[in-house]
Subunit: 283 residues, 2 copies
């Protein structure tokens, strides 16, 4: 099985990318935290439709985890990831250490407002600062022409778009549809934390959101529909609901019925936090 070129320094990454650029090749990037699943593979497939070369970064970014979160137990499986990248025909894996990304004395933070307000930020207040900072760095290290992010992390996708627009980062951001198992469960590295009984509960998240979105599209009151979805999640066996909330799909401003909407949710199953989102068609 062929594996991609693997580099762990910014200098080696830049040398490789500059070579491609000299040859006139278009370069796509797929930033990941590893533990690659079919969702990631679909991002690489889209990247290779948009560009001749695909760089995949694998970096479990400590600055986007709060001290209470799952940084230590987040799944790490580099050998398996590199096999999957080989099968997916990714060209380069960038696997920096924490010290390569954040050398001693590192002291800079990129903060995005707008779409970062509320939702995840209400429960993970420093999360998007960590995401925006590491994505800005990755883009400046790899200088891709485009980058592919999954719609599963919908708010993150909007935040990255805002980041690029605001800082004039010349990277085209491509959103990719969420990949789901046959029961509708969104692929996520954190699904690995779930036992069989929990998986069966988790599989109901998407159906509950789709039902609420359909009701809202058909005219149901927004507050009623989201409250009902929260109740249905608890009834299905979820431990706690962080939020179920409709937003405008482009700006993440509060949803108005005449705009394309997105219904977003975060919910807990024991110690595992799951997120998902679905479209709310305008009427």
């Amino acid at each position: 099985m062929s594996r991609p070129v693997v580099v762990d320094s910014v200098a080696a990454l830049r040398a490789q990318v500059h070579g491609w650029r000299r040859d006139g090749l278009r370069i796509a990037m797929v930033p990941t935290m590893g533990a690659l699943h079919d969702g990631h593979i679909s991002l690489i497939r889209i990247a290779l439709e948009k560009a001749e070369r695909c760089v995949v970064s694998i970096f479990v970014n400590p600055t986007q985890f709060a001290p209470s979160e799952d940084l230590d137990k987040y799944p790490r499986q580099l050998a398996r990831d590199l096999d999957r990248l080989g099968l997916a025909r990714a060209d380069l894996a960038f696997t920096p250490t924490v010290g390569e990304m954040y050398p001693a004395g590192f002291a800079t933070k990129v903060s995005v407002g707008g779409p970062a307000a509320g939702l995840e930020s209400d429960f993970r207040p420093t999360f998007f600062d960590g995401v925006a900072t590491v994505v800005a760095k990755l883009f400046l290290q790899a200088t891709p022409d485009c980058a592919v992010f999954g719609e599963k992390d919908y708010q993150q996708l909007c935040v990255v778009r805002q980041l690029c627009r605001d800082l004039d980062l010349p990277v085209e951001i491509i959103g990719a549809p969420t990949i789901r198992d046959p029961h509708g469960l969104a692929m996520s590295s954190r699904n690995a934390y779930l036992g069989e009984a929990e998986l069966n509960i988790a599989r109901q998240l998407n159906a509950i959101l789709r039902k609420a979105a359909a009701e809202m599209a058909a005219g149901a009151d927004q507050k009623d529909a989201t409250a009902e979805a929260s109740r249905a999640l608890i009834a299905a066996g979820f431990t706690e609901v962080d939020y179920v909330e409709a937003r405008e799909s482009l700006t993440l401003a509060p949803w108005r019925r005449d705009r394309e909407g997105r219904l977003l949710a975060a919910t807990w199953l024991g110690k595992t936090r799951l997120i998902d989102n679905v479209e709310v068609p305008s009427i």
Copy 2:
């Protein structure tokens, strides 16, 4: 008199820069807020020693002014600035509007810690966020190989270096010596606010700092020497002293006698705030 090419959109700036880059030319940038004086001209001279083309941005950046500060009365004199740029043989003037730099919905901030802590930040708490954000944008818009900043704004120079290192902005930062009038007064656009009597007071700032630095280098206690310098400033006619403080010259950490130091000061003359700094040799 020849004038530089003037562009006010990011798209036109990029088109010009990409053309130069295609021709294999090295590009230097000098970010300014206009009201160009001999200090700026010396930065352009250094830029043209380091690169074949020099882009000068002229943008009075509102995000680095606090509401109480002099944004409205900051001197603006574009026609005169363009004449000076022509004489200095700058190739391109980038003169964006506030709307071009911060379009509706703009929501991103770059914050630098480390050398930004204390000194100016104690008195202008949002200043370096504004500087770091606009410099990151200017570098991503113009993609220069190097950029020249004056040592007169010494803490700013250190902050910009930290910004580039931390965000992997591939721009070499060159510090340029402060240009002074024959009496030692550092060139500054804000000197235009001073009347003749105030100018005579302002001209004593550098001598007072040089005296304190020489005493510290000769073994005087750091606290005694800076307190004495503050007293001397008030005795000379300055209205108020924000700080007189010694720092390590590279990191801006607290100064230790065995390291290269920098003595930095900010002081007021009526409504005008002046800054300056001098070297403190290690012993």
